[in-house]
């Protein structure tokens, strides 16, 4: 690291002990770097010392951030995320987006607000807070205080590193979203001032919105936490040092090549550790949840093994799995580098695989977000979509047809699950769109998770699973510990598959049209062999049926229509009354396609291939005559349930 070119580093002797720890961290880092080259660019390196007061839920912190300008342009300002200010009042952009949902929360927890305050921000010993102001690059909300902009005395030249000392105070909210406290449980995420990403002469540092997640540069985090002695703590990275006094304990965690740091604490945590694929799985679960704990661990083992086979090995020594306790479910189902939160309920039956699904999904984020670190503010689909697709494949592979739900005869697999998600709001927004600009959360999740997963499922079906997995692996290898954009993903996939997929990605990523193929006509008309006139030259002659001909012939017609705006090639299967099947291929470009057959057989039914993205599978098939047997089962069963309900309500 080039540490001697900026004034900020010439005053190291004036720094407080935390800076010494920072220096020590850097020395250790340098030694480590000598032994083995860093796998990431290590642009933002934090040394943080923080003390948590469990009664007031306040974190008092001091951090030294070594930030390197890795671009070719000087930086005259610095931008910081102050995420916790999203929960400071109802005027933040986050709360405005959340609307009624958080109005209910506010009513329930009137004292549950949180904030983060920067007490001082020094570069080269000079406090720059006088020059600081709040920025709102995404909207006109002047009340939003989740982005802090600071003008520097001297710009940071390309390639230079600056040391920034920050004293801050963070009050955790009653858990609203992801971060906060609930009873003795604490989830500290987005809890410290975090620098944005400097790209091409501008800061990429978005406000915290209801639908946005995160984006940051890789680095080394050396974090020392002082918490009450009775707390069991799980954090990003690995524990390297532990000290205790009568009432507190001080824990030091180090994480290399990550881009965030989160920690959780609870005095009720039970720690279960297991090694899988060379990775130490450290589960912090709750008493009385041993069945759930085993489910989390098994799912994590399955996912680690599957990822190793298809994408690559997990690149860190440890994965910490946090199960937020009762009342803290809003912290569940999140990913942070080397730490995930999962969630379940004690009564969750085996066939309801929510614990497994959440574990597999959040573990997948270690790859898509953790290692391949795309900008989640601007292109959430890039990690959520790929991750949801692979989560589905892992779940299906591990748990079979009812991989998500297998209860009372109902089976839900990954495609069904993602279709359910997508069907909630398929038509409002394209996939490629900044997360905060979606119509609402429903549309955001429908498209970023559901549609993208289905789009990848569909593409995998078209090109073949094996080559598609290889293409994903190649994308991972190419972009690990970097920040890919959407176009990088498309280019990487195209190069791996050796084909131009513009016809596919253009309509699915940039458009909000849906895919819906339907069989709209299935007919068989008997041909009357003779009748009318036939022409012999210019003279009409009455047509006469040949004697003894009793064979019936039919003109069969099948009409397939494209009802949606998305056009993809599909197969159409036509089944005849003698059991024979004819398979036709249609490029799907026109609005409709007619298939006609003449022969002794009558068409019985036709099925147009139901691609995973198809928004209506009911109309993908059609019979010549109406079927009833399935209706008997469903209508009969519903009638029986109604009968039981009536018996109960009338006291019989």
């Amino acid at each position: 690291m080039a540490c001697d070119t900026h004034p900020g580093l010439r005053v190291r002797r004036q720094l407080l002990p935390v800076a010494a720890a920072a220096a020590l961290g850097l020395v250790l880092l340098s030694r480590a770097a000598l032994a083995e080259p860093a796998v990431s660019p290590r642009i933002a390196n934090y040394t943080i010392a923080a003390r948590y007061d469990a009664k007031t839920h306040v974190v008092d912190g001091r951090q030294v951030l070594h930030w390197r300008n890795a671009t070719s342009q000087a930086a005259s300002e610095l931008y910081f995320h102050l995420y916790l200010n999203a929960f400071a009042n109802s005027r933040s952009s986050f709360m405005r987006d959340a609307d009624e949902m958080w109005a209910r929360w506010e009513k329930k927890h009137p004292d549950g607000w949180g904030y983060i305050k920067v007490n001082s921000l020094r570069v080269g010993g000079i406090d720059l807070m006088e020059r600081a102001s709040f920025a709102h690059p995404d909207d006109d909300n002047i009340d939003d205080r989740t982005v802090l902009r600071v003008s520097l005395e001297e710009p940071v030249a390309p390639g230079d590193t600056v040391a920034i000392e920050i004293d801050f105070e963070a009050k955790l909210p009653k858990i609203v979203a992801r971060s906060g406290y609930a009873g003795p449980f604490t989830m500290a995420a987005q809890w410290f001032p975090k620098i944005g990403v400097y790209e091409d002469g501008r800061w990429n540092c978005h406000q915290y919105h209801l639908t946005t997640e995160f984006f940051a540069d890789f680095g080394v985090y050396d974090v020392t936490l002082t918490v009450p002695r009775d707390r069991v703590v799980g954090a990003t990275g690995v524990l390297v040092e532990k000290r205790q006094d009568e009432t507190t304990q001080t824990l030091r965690f180090v994480a290399e090549d990550v881009h965030d740091f989160a920690w959780a604490a609870d005095r009720r945590f039970r720690v279960i550790e297991r090694t899988s694929d060379g990775v130490n799985l450290r589960l912090l679960s709750h008493p009385g949840r041993s069945r759930q704990a085993e489910r989390y661990l098994q799912a994590a083992q399955v996912a680690l093994a599957r990822y190793r086979q298809t994408i690559g090995p997990y690149p860190y020594p440890q994965l910490t799995i946090i199960e937020p306790g009762p009342g803290a479910y809003r912290a569940a189902g999140m990913e942070y580098p080397t730490l995930i939160t999962v969630g379940s309920a004690w009564w969750m039956p085996r066939g309801f695989r929510l614990p497994e699904m959440v574990t597999v999904h959040e573990l997948g984020h270690q790859y898509w977000y953790g290692v391949v670190a795309n900008n989640e503010f601007e292109e959430a689909w890039l990690d959520e979509g790929i991750n949801s697709f692979l989560e589905g494949r892992i779940m299906d592979g591990a748990y079979g047809r009812g991989s998500y739900l297998d209860l009372m005869g109902l089976q839900v697999d990954s495609v069904t699950m993602h279709r359910l998600q997508y069907a909630r709001a398929p038509q409002y927004d394209p996939i490629v769109k900044p997360a905060w600009q979606f119509l609402d959360r429903s549309s955001y999740s429908a498209v970023s998770y559901g549609k993208m997963a289905l789009a990848l499922d569909t593409l995998s079906g078209i090109v073949g699973d094996e080559v598609f997995y290889q293409a994903l692996q190649s994308y991972f290898d190419r972009w690990r510990f970097r920040h890919p954009r959407g176009e990088d993903f498309v280019r990487s996939i195209e190069e791996s598959l050796g084909q131009d997929l513009g016809w596919y990605f253009d309509q699915l990523l940039s458009g909000s049209e849906v895919l819906d193929y339907a069989v709209t006509r299935v007919r068989a008309e008997q041909l009357h062999g003779a009748g009318g006139y036939r022409f012999a030259g210019q003279e009409p002659e009455e047509e006469v049926a040949p004697q003894g001909s009793s064979e019936r012939r039919y003109r069969n017609e099948v009409l397939v229509e494209r009802l949606g705006g998305v056009a993809l090639p599909v197969d159409v299967q036509i089944t005849f009354d003698d059991g024979s099947v004819s398979t036709e291929h249609w490029n799907g470009q026109e609005r409709w396609k007619r298939f006609e057959y003449t022969g002794r057989e009558r068409v019985e039914w036709a099925v147009v291939e139901a691609l995973p993205l198809d928004v209506n599978v009911i109309n993908n098939s059609r019979m010549r005559g109406a079927g009833t047997r399935g209706l008997v089962r469903v209508a009969g069963r519903w009638g029986f349930w109604f009968q039981n309900l009536m018996s109960m309500l009338t006291g019989w």
């Binding site: 109902l410 599978v617 009911i618 059609r622 109406a626 209706l631 008997v632 009638g639 039981n644 309500l649």
Partner: protein, 286 residues
């Protein structure tokens, strides 16, 4: 006394089998009317899709998702129809209950029971409305209790506290519902025997059930256990009927109707046993 009431009730229910048949036919009418409405909705929504056939052996969740998404509005109409039918059947149920209690209270021709039941029908209807409101209140109170205690349990260091709270709330709700249901039965019997009004009959029944709780509750629990046992037998057998063919579906539905017939019989038995208990208790009081 409980044992005698239980046995006596069984004998009366066996003698009054036509009432059982009437109750069963009424419940079958409920099944057929809603089943027909469901059939109509499904056949319109599915049109000639292969799903009309494939649902026989594959209850595809995908099909149901698309049904609810693309035919959600007409499904709401089906539900609205179901609510109207429910109101109608609760109303019809009050009348049939009045006839049933009349039939088990007196050894008289069925026509006389119908006439007596029709006379007390308005009071029965009033009782049904009040008691259903009390049931709703009990369930709401149970949920609120659960929520309040769960909030407190979130601070607990043991999750067992949470389980205990859930169990406690469920027991509270269950006992409250059992109490109101038992009082409802005794109020109905009181109305048939004395022509009392809704409030007077209910007030009397609350007092009776509470004062005679060592008799009324065990009998109610015994009859409830009988009903649950019939359900367990039904489920055990139903588990082995593969509903993946036309024959399997028909067998499954038929077996379901056997369960309903048994439940109707138990209901008559229940009323008869409670009538016996009420009379025996009143006699012993003098």
């Amino acid at each position: 006394m409980i044992h005698r009431a239980y046995r006596s009730g069984l004998k009366i229910a066996l003698r009054r089998w036509p009432v059982v048949i009437i109750l069963f036919l009424a419940s079958l009418a409920a099944a057929l009317s809603f089943g027909a409405a469901a059939w109509s909705w499904l056949s319109l929504a599915l049109d000639k899709s292969l799903a009309t056939r494939s649902l026989l052996n594959d209850l595809s969740v995908q099909v149901f998702i698309d049904l609810f998404i693309h035919h959600g509005e007409s499904f709401l109409m089906l539900l609205a129809g179901g609510i109207v039918m429910t109101v109608g059947f609760i109303s019809l149920g009050a009348w049939l209950n009045a006839i049933t209690v009349a039939a088990v209270c007196e050894e008289e021709p069925l026509s006389a029971s119908v006439a007596r039941g029709s006379r007390t029908y308005p009071t029965y209807l009033g009782l049904a409305v009040v008691v259903n409101l009390l049931h709703a209140a009990a369930i709401t109170a149970s949920a609120l209790l659960d929520r309040t205690l769960m909030h407190w349990a979130a601070e607990s260091t043991s999750e067992i506290t949470g389980y205990a709270v859930a169990a406690l709330s469920a027991i509270f709700g269950g006992l409250a519902v059992l109490f109101f249901a038992t009082a409802h039965d005794h109020a109905r019997i009181r109305v048939t025997n004395t022509d009392a009004g809704v409030i007077r009959a209910l007030g009397w029944a609350f007092a009776f059930v509470l004062r005679r709780q060592r008799r009324t509750f065990p009998l109610a629990v015994l009859l409830l256990a009988t009903s649950i046992a019939s359900w367990v037998i039904y489920q055990t057998v139903a588990w082995f009927i593969p509903a993946r063919s036309a024959l399997g579906v028909a067998s499954s539905l038929l077996w379901g109707e056997v369960l309903l017939l048994v439940r109707m019989f138990i209901r008559v038995w229940w009323f008869a046993a409670e009538t016996h208990l009420q009379r025996a208790t009143e006699r012993s009081a003098f």
